[in-house]
Each structure stands twice: as structure tokens, then as C-alpha cells.
């Protein structure tokens, strides 16, 4: 009986890996050869929407100038915009530096938070209460928007059915070290192919919490961000879709981020993403399944997307199960066809794209040099499996104990503005 159960689990995990591989392959073919759904960049309007740019900051003295200076260079009408940097319990010079900007520019209005709960969802909720714009645009403090980014994001909201817009993230420190190079590859596959294909297919493009915007009124009417959920972006994506709103992906709206430069920071970041994403899985599995507003393809893709941070945990259990079967004398399970399990090595880990999706994105972007780094993605297998699984168990503990979550901020690398220009 036990052996049958263990074998059954192995069939399940191999089937799951195969499904995710086919899903990614379909996305790849669609993006490479299919009809592309353009973003709303051609819309001309006589009155752009008012926007509030929110930038959560906790001890961001090293990077905040880059983000604010890049925003100041944006071509959005300043009469229609305000920038609210959220100084969230900072203990460094963040608050002081923000006040310097405020003294020079009226429309930069810092929000200093020294009481209440720390964390991005809480900070955004407080900032939305004082924001004047119809549309909230969010950036992390290490991001540098391209000049026309705000215009592009804002245009999408001319469609009254659009609840959120997401742009493309590109690491600017890709050449720093091996880790940043690998992250750059993953980002490339994840946005240029995966997000665009999902947008093309009318599936579930994801609002990513930064380099994107959403309607302020809708968020406030539905109670703001849930402060205990660490992936407030994914939660918003599912809240919108399950209530009949659209999320757009703007591949041309590029923004440049600072990727984590050490494995410790990356591990913590991945674990937090996994924890938050799995919290959303537990909340939105049934609403997604039974939403009257979502199409079949949206439900299907939505369910696949909900499970992306649970699959590595399933794989780790599969690894243990295969070891148990080995010592029970059952290693001939599926007569060696368990090689298919390893298709999953490059697939379905979090939001990370498999090798052929990354390869295709490099062809689309026209960047040949990075292709030779593709095999190194393999070494992320155990790294992601471990950290994502830890995040999964964190999320389970959150649900079981009802404990309060604490936001674990991604640490920044120190470098001068001139050095990265």
C-alpha cells in the first residue's frame, strides 16, 4: 500500500512537470510566431489621468536618488502627477534626503511612517489615503523608469475595464556578477516571452507590484492591500481577475531594476516571494476556479500560476519519495522514464522561465552573448528548490497559526549613481 502511494506520487509529479513544460512551450511558440497583442500605446487623449507615484522605502539612502532623479526626467505633465516616497520606519538618511527633494519640488510629498506596521502593503495603504491621483503607480526604490514610462502606464487606464497595468523589468546591473547575469536571463524569459504570451492569449498577465499601476478607487473600495499577505502584487492580480477586471502587460514600458548581488539576499527574496505567493494560492484557489468573470483559459492559466511556487516543494518531496522507493527496491519505477521529472529542473520554479523560453527571449531581444550562460541555470535548481520550499512552509504556518507577517526588505548594493549610468 505504501509503495503504491509512493509510486502514485511519482506519477503525479512527473505528470505535473510535463504539464508545466507543455505550458511553457506553448507560450514560447505563441510569443515567437503568433500574433502579438499590442499595448494601448497608440491612444491619444486630450486629458491624461492624474497619477500618484508611490515608492515604498525602508533605509534606501543608497538608491533613492536614482529612482527620484529618473522620475524627474519623465515626460509626464507635472501638474497631473505627484510623487509620494514612503519613508517606512527608516533609520538611515532616507527621511532627511526625501525632505531635501521636497524642498526643491512641490510635487514630491514624502510620507514619513514611524508608527504602525512596517512593510510594503501597510505603507501603500497609508499612502493611498493621502494620494490625489486617480491612478497609483508603484516603483521599488531601486527602480529607474524610462522617460516615457509613466505616460505608457497611464494610457492603459483609458480603458474603463482595466484595473492594473504592468511594465517590463530589466536589470541594469546584469554585468555585475554571475548571479545578476542569471537573474537577467530569468527576467528576460519571464517578461519578453512569458508575460507577453499570456497577454497575447488573453490569459493572466501578472501585476508585479512595481513598474505598474492600478486604480486607486477600486483598491480603497475593496479595503486596500491585505497587510498580512507578502505578495500584495499577486493578490491584487487575482482580486482584479476574479472580479471581472483586466490586467494589461505593456512590454514596451521598460524599467530598470537593481537585481540582488549576493546569494544570501537572493535566497531571502525568493523565500519571501514564495511565502507571499503561496498565501495567495491558499486564498484564491477556489475563487479563481469558480469566478463567473474569468474565461476558461484565464482559469486554467490562473491555476497554473497560483501553483508555481508550490511546485518546487512538490519536487523536493518527489526527490525524497524517489529515494524511499530506491531503498525499498522499487527503483525501476517507470522503467527509467523518470528522466521526464528532470524536465522540471528548468521549468516551473516560481516565475522563472525554462531554458527554451529564455533562449527564445534572447533571440527576440537580439542578445547573443548571454546564451552561453544558459546551462548555469541548472545550478539554481537546488537553490530555488530549497528557498521556495521554505517559503511554502512559511505560508502554511501563516495560515495555521494566523501569525503576523514581517516584511523582509531586500538589501541594496552600494554603488554611486555615476558608476551605473
Amino acid at each position: 500500500m505504501v509503495i503504491k502511494l509512493l509510486k502514485g506520487y511519482m506519477f503525479f509529479i512527473i505528470g505535473l512537470m510535463l504539464l508545466y513544460t507543455l505550458r511553457h512551450f506553448y507560450f514560447t511558440v505563441q510569443r515567437l510566431l503568433g500574433r502579438q497583442k499590442l499595448y494601448y500605446g497608440d491612444i491619444i487623449t486630450s486629458r491624461m489621468k492624474t497619477i500618484s507615484v508611490l515608492i515604498p522605502m525602508h533605509n534606501e539612502e543608497l538608491v533613492l536618488r536614482n529612482a527620484l532623479d529618473a522620475l524627474l526626467e519623465c515626460d509626464y505633465d507635472r501638474a497631473l502627477m505627484e510623487i509620494i516616497p514612503i519613508n517606512d520606519h527608516s533609520t538611515d538618511r532616507t527621511g532627511e534626503m526625501l525632505e531635501e527633494y521636497h524642498s526643491k519640488y512641490d510635487f514630491i510629498r514624502p510620507l514619513h511612517r514611524h508608527t504602525g506596521r512596517r512593510g510594503k502593503p501597510s505603507g501603500l495603504n497609508d499612502a493611498m489615503k493621502i494620494a490625489k491621483g486617480e491612478i497609483i503607480v508603484v516603483f521599488d526604490a531601486d527602480y529607474r523608469p524610462a522617460r516615457n514610462l509613466l505616460k505608457q502606464i497611464s494610457l492603459g487606464f483609458e480603458d474603463p475595464h482595466v484595473g492594473a497595468v504592468m511594465g517590463r523589468v530589466i536589470p541594469y546591473n546584469a554585468n555585475k556578477n554571475m548571479l545578476t547575469r542569471l537573474i537577467s536571463l530569468e527576467r528576460s524569459g519571464g517578461y519578453q516571452v512569458d508575460q507577453q504570451a499570456r497577454y497575447n492569449l488573453g490569459a493572466v498577465p501578472q501585476y508585479g507590484g512595481t513598474v505598474g499601476g492600478f486604480r486607486k478607487d477600486y483598491l480603497l473600495e475593496t479595503g486596500g492591500f491585505r497587510e498580512n499577505i507578502l505578495a500584495e502584487d499577486t493578490e491584487l492580480t487575482y482580486r482584479l481577475f476574479t472580479n471581472g477586471w483586466k490586467v494589461l502587460y505593456a512590454n514596451s514600458a521598460e524599467c530598470y531594476e537593481e537585481s540582488p548581488e549576493t546569494w544570501n539576499i537572493r535566497g531571502r527574496q525568493i523565500r519571501r516571494w514564495s511565502r507571499g505567493h503561496n498565501q495567495v494560492l491558499f486564498h484564491y484557489f477556489f475563487p479563481t476556479l469558480f469566478s463567473p468573470y474569468m474565461t476558461l483559459i484565464q482559469k486554467l492559466d490562473g491555476i497554473f500560476l497560483l501553483f508555481v511556487y508550490a511546485v518546487p516543494m512538490f519536487t523536493m518531496v518527489g526527490w525524497l519519495v524517489s529515494m524511499a522507493l530506491f531503498f525499498l527496491g522499487e527503483m525501476n519505477i517507470m522503467s527509467g522514464w523518470w528522466v521526464i521529472l528532470f524536465l522540471g529542473v528548468y521549468d516551473s520554479f516560481g516565475n522563472f522561465a525554462p531554458f527554451f523560453e529564455v533562449g527564445t527571449s534572447l533571440v527576440l531581444d537580439g542578445t547573443p552573448k548571454e546564451a552561453t550562460l544558459l546551462p548555469l541555470l541548472m545550478f539554481n535548481f537546488f537553490f530555488y528548490m530549497w528557498h521556495i520550499s521554505l517559503g511554502f512552509f512559511d505560508a502554511v504556518a501563516d495560515v495555521v497559526t494566523g501569525r503576523t507577517t514581517v516584511w523582509d526588505k531586500t538589501a541594496r548594493a552600494k554603488r554611486s549613481k555615476e558608476a551605473v549610468k
Binding site: M331, L374, P375, F383
Partner: protein, 258 residues
Amino acid sequence: MTKKQIYYSRTYRKLRANRRQSLILFLVVVIPSLAAMILFMPEITQLFCRVAARVLGRAGVITVRRSMYNKLFRDIYYLASVAGLPSARMCLCNVGVCLAVMVLCMALPTRNRPVSIYLIFNAGIHLISSLWFLFAGWDFPYEAPDFSQLYLIQEVGIWVVFLVMTTAVTSILGTLGLGYKLLTVAAVMAYSWVFGLVRYIVFLYLLRRYTMLYMTVMYFTFGPMFDFLYLVMIYGWFVNRMVKLYESAKGKEEWEWS
């Protein structure tokens, strides 16, 4: 990657679609290759065994066995090598080494690096194996021929999956670069055969020389995951060539914006 490397016009570009040509290429490569594998699998594995036996035979007697695999591939041949049980001292040494590796990897500041996590996982696998042989070696459910047979069955799985997968991911990349596509499939298959054979010889040699203690780690650590490494390596070279091809004057004509 800096902004200069990604131009605005590339945002929505796609390759001129010729799905029929891609499908034909896929079928033309996969069907005959698969048919050849199905028809000649007994002979292929027999050849494998002959070469391996010739290399290994110098160090002892090796016999070739035949067994029914399944209805599709019929029989496969495998080498019936011998391997003994490890001594308690050897097991203890291995337990010590595994523990040392695990503790060291966990104690160093680099413990969060992929290579450390990889070493911890695999040292853990070998630790379990070493403890098994220390306390219940007599109950280990396999002999060397079982492992040898499974290895070749697994190789058959790798060859089929890699053939289909490599052809699929290369054939979709537009209408240009047919030579690169065929070369990539051929290189992956050739490498998997040569690498598979060399690894088979090494595994059987190690089993015979250093006992069955290392069977578990061979199976889990140096198994199919390593095969994916060279597949992606060759695919990476292929992508590099294709990017350059589609950025050339001829290749630029293949792009469309829809």
C-alpha cells in the same frame, strides 16, 4: 544588460510564422530517428555493452546479459558486472566525510550559494546510503547487474526524450538556420551516446572497484540531471548562432511586427 542593447522596435517583433515548415522539420527528424531507435535498440545496447566490456574486461570477467525491456523496444543488453559490499570501516569513513562536507557547507559564509546547497543535498544522499550499508548492508535490494540494467533503460529514456525535446525547441526558431538546427540535434544525440557510454563504463568500474556503496549517489547525483547540462549547453551555442543569424541583413527580413 543596459538599455542600449534592447531597442524599442524589438518589443513586439516576432518571426515570420511558418508553422508547417517547423512541423515538417520536427517530423522529418524525429520519426526516422525514433523508428531507427525502435528497430535497432537491441543492437544499439549490444554495441554499448561490447565497447564497455572491452574496456572493463581488462580488469576482470564481464558477461553480457539480455532481458525483455518492453514491447516497443523489445530486448536490451546490459553488462553483468560484479560489486561487493563495503566494509564497516569504509562505511564509517564515508559517513564521516559526508558529515564533514555538510557541516562545512552549512558553517561557511557561502552556505547560501547554489554549490553549497547542491553539496549538502548530495552529501545527504550519500550519508543515507552509507548509513544503510553500515547497519543493513545485507538488506540492500540491488546487485550490480540490476543497476547496470536500469542504467541502460534510463539511457533509452534519455535518448528518446532528448531527441523529441531538442528537435522541438530548435525547429520552432523560424525558417533560417536549418544547418544549425540539424547540427544541434545531432550534437545532442552524439554527446548523449558518448557521454552515456563513458559514464556507464566509469560507473561499472567504480562499483566493482569501490563496492556498491556508491550506487545511490551515482543514480541520484550523476544521473539524468547531468545530461540536461550538456543539452542546454549545446542549445545555448545554438541560440547564440541563431541570434547572430537573425541580426544579420538576411535575418532581419524574417522579422514581423503585428
